[in-house]
């Protein structure tokens, strides 16, 4: 399975390493050549030696997407630092290149929710963080109040 990851920051690079470790073919696309170094954090060999691919370019450039292998990709992950960029390039992957699995990281819960309803698979780390924080506060309050909060 070929997984194309556009945007190779902390999130993108971690997902890329995990997917490669699980035996997938992984191709990364990032505007910043320096992102290559982030990919190799904690690896004993170079990214390429382990079978990974890295292309420098922007997610809106069709040449870069095609060089990174989008035409035969089975999954596409948009994880740049821009919500709008992720939403747009994910739709390009979906509509133009008909990649079977397309996922966009969207930090803004409102945009994530609306595009999700339009048929785009979005993952919203902000919503996850909000839920976790709320839970943590409730649990913290619960333990100091000796379980009183749980009854509410």
């Amino acid at each position: 399975m070929l997984i194309l990851i556009v945007g190779c920051g902390r999130v993108g690079s971690s997902v890329a390493r995990a997917m490669l470790r699980e035996g997938n073919e992984v191709s990364c696309l990032d505007e910043d050549p320096e992102s290559h170094a982030r990919l190799e954090v904690g690896l004993e060999k170079s990214w390429e030696d382990l079978g990974g691919q890295f292309t420098v370019g922007a997610g809106l450039e069709t040449e870069a997407l095609e060089a990174a292998g989008i035409e035969r990709a089975d999954a596409f992950i948009a994880s740049t630092d821009g919500d709008n960029t992720n939403i747009i390039i994910a739709q390009i992957a979906q509509k133009r290149y008909e990649v079977p699995t397309v996922i966009a990281r969207v930090l803004d819960p409102l945009r994530a929710e609306w595009y999700q309803r339009q048929g785009l698979h979005t993952v919203c780390p902000t919503s996850v963080a909000i839920d976790m924080l709320e839970d943590a506060v409730r649990k913290g309050a619960g333990s100091s109040n000796d379980g009183a909060a749980e009854a509410v």
Partner: protein
């Protein structure tokens, strides 16, 4: 009309001013605080501070009752997203998007963000029109209708000068509609003989430009025109 303009750069600011002068109701949205404060000194309550790709910012600006949304930021992804949301979520009747990089126009089309305007493309068109050596000039593109009208100047080396219109092998899907000669235009008949300096207008299916260029352009294969 109530018009929301996004992006208070040179384009957005001037556009908002012109629209206000034409008595439209306008809200200009800008997400750079300093730029907002500058523009606000002139346009006052017609400017709103915020990131228009955030849905609540659009709603605060009253997008539900907007007749038109014009996205002219310097970022193509932002313009695409704002127009897509305006059209599909808020059902705004008319949208216009600015294309910064002409190579991104295909993405605007793919996502149904139309019409889109690219200053670079407009200047290129003008350049083609002003510089006759360029050969073929687009006069009109009817994108939806899949038709275009082009103009070609016949140079001294054109393969068709001195030939009857009826003898031309016009490519399928194209039609010669007019000839401009010495400042006057007329509809050619089969017996019209083309001359050097004629400007010919043709209507054609998109993608036929090269075939027409080959037909009307300079003779290439060295065959004598004598």
């Amino acid at each position: 009309m109530y018009i929301i303009v996004v992006g208070a750069g040179k384009v957005g600011w001037n556009l908002a001013r012109e629209l206000l002068e034409k008595d439209h109701e306008v809200t200009l949205i800008e997400n750079n605080r300093r730029r907002y404060l500058t523009v606000e000194q002139e346009l006052e309550h017609n400017v709103s501070y915020g990131d228009a790709s955030e849905l609540w910012v659009l709603e605060r600006a009253g997008i539900q009752r907007a007749d038109m949304v014009i996205a002219v930021t310097g970022d193509d992804e932002d313009n695409m997203l704002i127009c897509q949301v305006a059209k599909q979520k808020y059902e705004v009747g008319q949208i216009i998007a600015r294309v910064n990089n002409p190579r991104n126009r295909q993405h605007f089309d793919l996502l149904g963000v139309k019409p889109s305007v690219s200053a670079t493309d407009l200047i290129l068109r003008l350049l083609e029109h002003e510089v006759p050596e360029y050969g073929l000039v687009h006069l009109l593109d009817l994108q939806e209708e899949q038709l275009e009208i082009i103009e070609m100047l016949l140079g001294s080396d054109s393969a068709v000068t001195g030939r009857r219109v009826g003898d031309l092998q016009m490519p399928e899907g194209s039609l010669l509609i007019s000839v401009l000669r010495a400042g006057k235009g007329f509809v050619p008949t089969a017996d019209t003989v083309l001359e050097e300096g004629d400007e010919v207008l043709a209507v054609l299916d998109p993608g036929k430009e090269d075939e027409l260029k080959d037909l009307f352009g300079p003779e290439s294969n060295g065959s004598s025109s004598a």
